[in-house]
């Protein structure tokens, strides 16, 4: 046994082996953290269709205003009434949106409920609000706004 004690050559091999294994354990723990870091939270942020829904909503707002002024224009050049023109233009808009969203596997529907007119005459100052139903469905998220009140005289 004296020979073992006398021979000191192995000590540092043994110690460095130990040190290396400890370091590797430490690194393994760190690496473990890294692999799993933020998969679910990233997915939530990436997959939740926040922008798509917001865009559908805001774009419908913008369009309702645009359609309002356009239907007054149509009314002034043809004998079509403002609500009729409004309806037609809105339908047209709705069909286009439906198709554009369908490309991405999303089912949307934008349909007009009513035009709010206090006097019933549908004049320029009179139409202040439009009621629209908006639905969105991509199989995971379902969004329904019925009705969405759109102030169009701003």
């Amino acid at each position: 046994m004296g020979s073992l004690r006398k021979d000191t050559k192995g000590q540092w091999i043994a110690l460095s082996g130990l040190v290396i294994s400890l370091i590797l354990i430490g690194l393994a723990v760190l690496a473990n953290q890294a692999i799993l870091a933020g998969y679910h939270s990233s997915n939530a942020a990436l997959e939740f269709p926040k922008e798509n829904i917001r865009e559908l909503n805001l774009h419908t707002h913008d369009n309702a205003r645009m359609i309002r002024s356009m239907s007054f224009y149509i009314n002034s050049t043809t004998n079509e009434t403002v609500p009729d023109a409004f309806d037609q233009l809105f339908d047209n808009y709705s069909i286009q949106m439906k198709k554009l969203y369908a490309v991405h596997g999303e089912v949307v529907d934008v349909s007009m409920v009513s035009i709010n007119s206090t006097t019933g005459k549908y004049t320029m100052d009179d139409i202040d609000m439009v009621l629209v139903n908006i639905t969105y469905d991509d199989g995971i998220t379902h969004y329904v706004a019925e009705p969405e009140l759109i102030e169009v005289n701003k």
């Binding site: 004296g2 799993l36 933020g38 679910h40 939270s41 939530a44 942020a45 926040k50 909503n57």
Partner: protein, 147 residues
């Protein structure tokens, strides 16, 4: 004394072999007894902590994103997936304390480990409640303006 160190005739080669084997056996016994703790438990703890905070952040981020597009009249609901286990344990997500504490809590079933995630001021203006267990299959967050 000098003679003691100079003396190389300690034990026989056979006995040295036996001694060395004993040391090795001892070492491996210690390692195998502690291996569960060292190689399973500690990494599991780390994995659980990470994954639970990840899931908590998912919930919190989803609620925040959803809050920002809530319809004024209408409803919105979204399904989400939860991993059935973090590390080796099932867990429960608890949002009932969100109103008072602005946090979502995840509690693991066996060790009772808790992870809390903040939800940035939204809970004061919108009541958030509900719990979800990882062992059930369908999960959904929903909002209805008329309720």
């Amino acid at each position: 004394m000098k003679r003691f160190f100079a003396d190389e005739k300690g034990v026989s080669l056979l006995f040295e072999y036996i001694l060395f084997s004993l040391i090795c056996i001892g070492f491996f016994m210690i390692v195998s007894v502690n291996s569960d703790e060292i190689f399973m438990h500690t990494p599991n703890e780390v994995v659980m902590e990470n994954e639970m905070s990840d899931i908590g952040n998912m919930m919190s981020t989803m609620i925040t994103d959803m809050y920002l597009i809530l319809p004024a009249n209408g409803r919105i609901d979204t399904e989400y997936n939860l991993p059935p286990k973090v590390g080796t344990e099932t867990y429960i997500i608890n949002a009932d304390i969100a109103y008072t504490d602005q946090i979502i809590e995840l509690v693991s079933s066996d060790s009772g480990k808790k992870i809390r995630v903040t939800i940035g001021g939204i809970a004061t203006t919108m009541p958030i409640n509900g719990t979800a267990s990882s062992s059930s299959t369908n999960h959904m967050i929903s909002y209805d303006s008329r309720r």
